[in-house]
Amino acid sequence: MAPMTGKQHNIFRSLDWWTVAIYVALLAFGWVSVCGAGYTYGDTDILSLSTRSGMQIVWIATSLFLGLVILLLDDRFYDTFAYVIYALLLLLLFLTIFNPHQIKGSRSWLVFGPLRLQPAEFAKFATALAAAKLMGSYGFDIRRWKHFAMACTIILLPMLFIVAQRETGSALVYIAFFLMFYREGMPGSILFTGIAMVVYFVVGIKYEDTPLLHTPTSVGVSVVMLLIQVFTAAMVGIYSRDRRLMWYLLGATAGLTLAAWLFSAYVIPFDTVPLQFAVSIAVIVILLLRWLRTRITTYALISLFTIGSIAFFHSADYVLNKVLEPHQRVRINVLLGLEDDLNGAGYNVHQSEIAIGSGGLRGKGFLNGTQTKLKFVPEQDTDFIFCTVGEEEGFLGSATVLVLFLLLILRLIRLAERQPMSFGRIYGYGVLSIFLFHVFINVGMVLGLTPVIGIPLPFFSYGGSSLWGFTLLLFIFLRIDAGRNLTRMR
C-alpha cells in the first residue's frame, strides 16, 4: 500500500491534463456566455450573487471542488459501488415522480430553499457506471439477446422515471448509450435501424402536410418511401456485398421516383405514393426471391428491414392521426419541435437564428449582443445559450466552442481506448456519448437543424444541477483513467 501522499502525487502526474484544460476552457467560455445572456443594459454588477452570472460562479467553484474531491477518492470505489450508486439514484428518480412542486409543468426539480436540484442530471453518471459494471463483467457479450436486454433495462429504467416526471427531453439523452453499445459490439445494423426509424418519423410527420409543388403527393410520405428504398439498397451493398444489386436497386428506385415526381409536377399531377409503394413491394419481392435462390439469410433480413420500415412508418402515422386524442398529438408535435402552437418553439428557433446570424465574423463583443439583451430569445441562458455565443463571439467564437467540444470528445475516445479494464473503457464511451448527444441536439436545435428538445449545453447552460452532473461524469472518468497504471499492477 503506497503512502497517502505518494498516491496523490501519482494521481496528479497521471491525470490527463489535456482534458482538464479543455474542461476549464469550456467553463470559462460558458461563464462569459451566461454573463452575456443575463446581462441587461445598465446592470453592471455581473459578479453579484443576485444575478445569474454571479450564481454561475458559485456553481463553477463548487464544480471545481467536486472535481477535486472525486480525484482524491480511490478509483476502485466506482467499480465497487456502481450498482449501489445506480440503485440510490433510481430510488431518488422514482421519488421525484411524486414531487408536488412543478416548474413549467415538469416535476423534475427538487427544491431545497434557494437550491434547486434535478436528479435526472445526476442519474446519467450512475447509469453509465452501472452499464459499465454490467457490460464489463466476465462473460458479458452484448451480441447475445439476453445480455443486450439486460443492458437496455439499465438504460430504460431511469428513462422511464424521468418521462414520468414530465421531463422527456432529459430522458431522451439516455438514447446516447446506444453509441457506447455500438462500440462494445452491438451490431451496427441495430444502430442504423434505430436512426432510420427516427428519421422516418421526424421527416414523415414534419412534412406530411406539405404538398410536392402543386401535386397531391405528400412530401413527407414520398421522401420517407424513397429513403426506405435507398437504405435498403445501401444495406444490400454493405451486408451482402452485392454491389451490382445495390446499384441496380438504387438506380431503379431513385430513378423511378424522380421520374414520377417530374411527371407529376410538370405533366399530369398525381399522387406518387402508391407508385412508390408498388416499387417497394417489388424490391421486397426481388430480395425474397434472391434469398430463396441463394439461401443467404442476409437478403431475408434486409427485406425484413424494408417491410419493418414501411410498417413502422405507417403505424406511427396511423397512431398519431387516428388513435391519439388531439391534445396528445399536439404534445408529441411540440416535443418533436414540429408545432409552434403552445409556446412558439418555431418562433424561438427563428429568433435564435437571427441572434446568431447577427454575430457576423467576430461578434458584437462581450456584453454587447442586442438580440439577447432585448429578450428576443427565450431560455437564453439555459437551453438557448449558444445564441449568445454566436451573437457576442461571432463565427470565430462559436466555431471555437464547437471545435473545443470536438477535441474533448476525440480526447475522451483516446482515453477510453487506452483503458486496461473494459469497465473504464465502457464508462468512458458512456461519458463521451452523452456529451456528443447533448452537443448534437442542443447546438442543432439552436441552429434550426434538429427538433427542439430542451436539454442543456454541457458547461455552458446556466444551472448547478447540470454543471455538477457533467463534472461528475467527466471527473469520475478522469479518476479512473488516472488510476489505469495502478490497476494494471493490482
Partner: protein, 616 residues
C-alpha cells in the same frame, strides 16, 4: 481479450463527431457570414420588438347571448433611455391626470430592479396601465412632446350582465409565479385569475403577434426588419360558449339574494351546467381594469366571502337528499327489496341509540320512506348492511363496499368540472373510522351517515350531479360549464359516460319514491306543476338553524334538467329550497315565468335570512 475489429469502431464514432461539428460549422458559416441580411444589421443596428396583443376570446351563454367582451384600453409605455431631461414633467402629468409626486414614484419604481426584475433602459416599460378612451385622448394629442413615451393598445374585459361572476371569473396582471411557469407571459400581461377565465386561459388568450422593427444607433425607428418577413400577426383567442342559460342563471341568483347558499342546474343528457349560482355574489363589472386590485382586496376581506364559489367549494351535509344514494345501494346490494318494510315510531331506537323522525304511517316500504323522508328506514338499512358479516366478512369490508357505491355516484372525489378550485367533499371509508374510533365502531356508531349527516360532506355540484345520475337511471357525464370552444373539439373527459354501481331497477324504485314525494310527500308544493317533477327534500342539521335543501329533476321520463338548491340556515327543505326549485323548473321548462311564479320569485327574492356574524 481485445477485439481489434471492434476497436476500429472508434473511428466510426469519432467520424460521427467530426461530421456533426463540421456540418454545424458550415451552418454557422452560412448564417453568420454568407447571409447578407444578418451582416447588415450586425453592429450598429438594434431591433425593437413591438408586441401586438391578440383580442381575448368572447364568452357567450348557451343561447348565444354575449356575456363577456373586450373594450379597448391603452397602456402608456416608457423607454427610459429616450426620456432623459427633455420632458416637461408638469405638462405630462396634466395630460395623464396624475400628480408630480406619483410621476416621480412611478419612474423610480420602474428603475427599481427588485420591483421590476425585467427592467432595461432600452426597452419599453409599463408606465400607466389601462387608460380608457377619454383619458387617453388628451394624451394622444400631446404625445409628440414626450419623447420616450409610447402607447400600447390593450383591452379590458366588459360584462353585459351582472350575473355568473363565479363561473366567468376575471383577469388580472400576471404574478411573478405565472411568468416563471410559462414563458408566454411578460410583466404587465393579463391572465385569467378565476372561473373559466382561468381554466380556459390558454384557449381564450390567443397568441401574441410580434413586429420586429429596426432602429439605428440613435434609437430612431428605421422600418420593419426584413420587410416584416419574420413578423407574425396576433392570433385572436377562441370564443367560449358556456352551457349556462342566462335567464335561469339570473333567476337563480335573484332568488338567492339575502341568503347564503347555492343553486346548480345540470342537463342530465350531457352534463352541461345550466345554472350555477352562489350567494353572496358580486357584480363581475366590479373587478375590471385598474380598479381590480383594490376591489379584489375588498371582496376577499368581506366576512361573507363573496369570492367563494360555494357551488363547488362549499362543503355541506346533504341531509335527506342523500337517502336516495342509500336506497340505491341497499337495493342493489340486496339488503332490502322494494317491498321490505321497516317500522318507525317517531324514529330509530336501538340499544339506547335514538335518531328522531316525524309522524307518518308505520311500518312503511321504500317508496313511502323516500316520499315521507323517514329517517328510521334508512338507519335500519345501513344497520343491516354494515352488520351483514355473512356477505362482507367484516364491518370494514361492508363500509368500503358502501364507500365504493358513493364514489361511483360522483361523491367524495372532485367531479372534474372545468372550473378551478373544486373541492372533493368527504365520504368516509373504513380506515377513516378505524382511525377515529380506534377500531371500536360498528353500524350504529356511524348510523347518521345514512341520512346524510355525520361526516358526510358534499358540494352543491355533487348534489345536483346526483340528481342527474338518478334522472339518467345510473350514469352521468362530468359536469362542465363550457359547451363549446371555438374551433376545438370538446374535451373527451366531458363526453364519456360514468356508470354508477347501482342497478337500473334500483333507480326505478328510487324515482318512484321521488315522484311520490312530489305528489304527496315532503315536496308536495311541486305537485301542482305539470312537468312530472321528481324530488327529494333535505333538512340538514348543523350547529345553527337547519339548512334547507332540495334535489330533483324533471320530467320523470326524458329528463331535461336536474336541480340542487342549498340555502344555509333556511330551515325545512320545504321552506326555501322547494319553492325556489319550483320557480326554476317553470323557467327552464317553459322558458318564462307565469304571473304567479313571478310573484313567488319576487317574494323569495326579498326574503332575507338573518345570519349572525359569529364564526364567519
Amino acid at each position: 481479450m481485445k477485439d481489434y475489429n471492434l476497436e476500429n469502431r472508434r473511428f466510426v464514432i469519432g467520424g460521427v463527431a467530426v461530421a456533426i461539428v463540421l456540418v454545424y460549422i458550415v451552418r454557422l458559416f452560412t448564417i453568420q457570414l454568407l447571409s447578407d441580411d444578418f451582416k447588415k444589421n450586425a453592429d450598429s443596428n438594434a431591433f425593437l420588438k413591438k408586441i401586438d396583443y391578440p383580442s381575448r376570446g368572447s364568452i357567450y351563454d348557451r343561447n348565444g347571448k354575449l356575456m363577456v367582451y373586450n373594450q379597448p384600453a391603452y397602456d402608456i409605455m416608457v423607454v427610459m433611455n429616450e426620456t432623459k431631461n427633455h420632458i416637461d414633467t408638469l405638462e405630462l402629468c396634466n395630460a395623464l391626470g396624475i400628480t408630480k409626486s406619483y410621476f416621480i414614484k412611478r419612474m423610480d419604481d420602474i428603475k427599481d430592479r427588485n420591483k421590476n426584475p425585467g427592467y432595461s433602459r432600452f426597452t419599453e416599460q409599463l408606465f400607466l396601465s389601462l387608460l380608457s378612451d377619454q383619458e387617453f385622448s388628451i394624451f394622444r394629442e400631446k404625445m409628440f412632446r414626450f419623447p420616450g413615451f409610447y402607447i400600447q393598445k390593450r383591452s379590458i374585459r366588459q360584462y353585459t350582465y351582472p350575473y355568473a361572476a363565479h363561473v366567468l371569473g376575471d383577469i388580472g396582471e400576471v404574478s411573478p409565479a405565472n411568468i416563471e411557469d410559462d414563458d408566454y407571459y411578460q410583466p404587465g400581461d393579463y391572465i385569467g385569475k378565476l372561473g373559466v377565465e382561468k381554466y380556459y386561459e390558454k384557449e381564450l388568450r390567443g397568441e401574441k403577434g410580434i413586429r420586429i422593427m429596426l432602429r439605428d444607433a440613435h434609437g430612431r425607428i428605421q422600418g420593419s426588419y426584413r420587410n416584416g418577413e419574420l413578423d407574425h400577426r396576433p392570433v385572436a383567442g377562441r370564443d367560449l360558449t358556456l352551457s349556462l342559460d342566462l335567464k335561469l342563471q339570473a333567476l337563480a341568483e335573484r332568488m338567492l339574494q339575502g341568503k347564503i347558499g347555492s343553486i346548480v342546474a345540470i342537463e342530465p343528457a350531457t352534463g352541461e351546467v345550466l345554472a350555477m349560482a352562489s350567494s353572496p355574489t358580486y357584480d363581475p363589472r366590479y373587478l375590471i381594469g385598474r380598479k381590480r386590485s383594490k376591489a379584489h382586496k375588498a371582496l376577499s376581506k368581506d366576512v361573507w366571502k363573496p369570492l367563494l364559489n360555494r357551488s363547488i367549494m362549499g362543503l355541506y351535509p346533504p341531509g335527506s337528499t342523500f337517502k336516495t344514494t342509500q336506497a340505491l345501494t341497499y337495493l342493489t346490494e340486496g339488503i332490502i327489496t322494494p317491498n321490505t318494510m321497516f317500522t318507525c315510531h317517531h324514529g330509530f331506537f336501538y340499544r339506547g341509540l335514538h335518531v328522531g323522525c316525524h309522524g307518518h304511517v308505520s311500518p312503511l316500504n321504500l317508496v313511502e320512506a323516500i316520499s315521507t323522508s323517514c329517517n328510521a328506514y334508512f338507519c335500519w338499512g345501513l344497520y343491516y348492511m354494515l352488520g351483514n358479516r355473512r356477505k362482507y366478512g367484516s364491518v370494514q369490508n361492508a363500509m368500503n363496499r358502501w364507500r365504493d357505491y358513493m364514489v361511483s355516484m360522483g361523491l367524495g372525489y372532485k367531479l372534474g368540472i372545468d372550473l378551478p378550485g373544486e373541492k372533493r367533499g368527504l365520504i368516509p371509508n373504513a380506515s377513516f373510522y378505524d382511525h377515529a374510533y380506534r377500531n371500536a365502531w360498528n353500524g350504529l356508531t356511524v348510523i347518521s351517515i345514512s341520512i346524510g349527516q355525520g361526516e358526510i360532506n358534499l358540494t352543491p355540484l355533487q348534489i345536483a350531479n346526483l340528481g342527474a345520475t338518478i334522472a339518467n337511471r345510473g350514469y352521468f357525464y362530468t359536469p362542465h360549464v363550457v359547451r363549446k370552444v371555438q374551433g376545438l373539439p370538446l374535451d373527451t373527459a366531458y363526453t364519456r359516460r360514468h356508470r354508477t354501481m347501482a342497478s337500473e331497477r334500483a333507480y326505478r324504485t328510487v324515482i318512484a319514491g321521488m315522484r311520490s314525494s312530489v305528489l304527496k310527500g315532503t315536496c308536495r308544493d311541486l305537485g301542482r306543476l305539470p312537468y312530472a317533477i321528481c324530488g327529494k327534500t333535505g333538512t340538514a342539521q348543523n350547529h345553527g338553524r337547519d339548512h334547507s335543501v332540495f334535489m330533483g329533476f324533471a320530467p320523470m321520463d326524458r329528463p331535461k334538467v336536474a336541480i340542487a338548491v342549498y340555502v344555509e340556515n333556511g330551515g325545512f327543505g320545504a321552506d326555501f329550497a322547494v319553492p325556489i326549485a319550483g320557480v326554476l323548473f317553470e323557467q327552464y321548462m317553459t322558458g318564462r315565468l307565469s304571473p304567479s311564479a313571478e310573484h313567488m320569485a319576487e317574494t323569495l327574492q326579498h326574503k332575507r335570512i338573518a345570519y349572525g356574524t359569529h364564526d364567519r
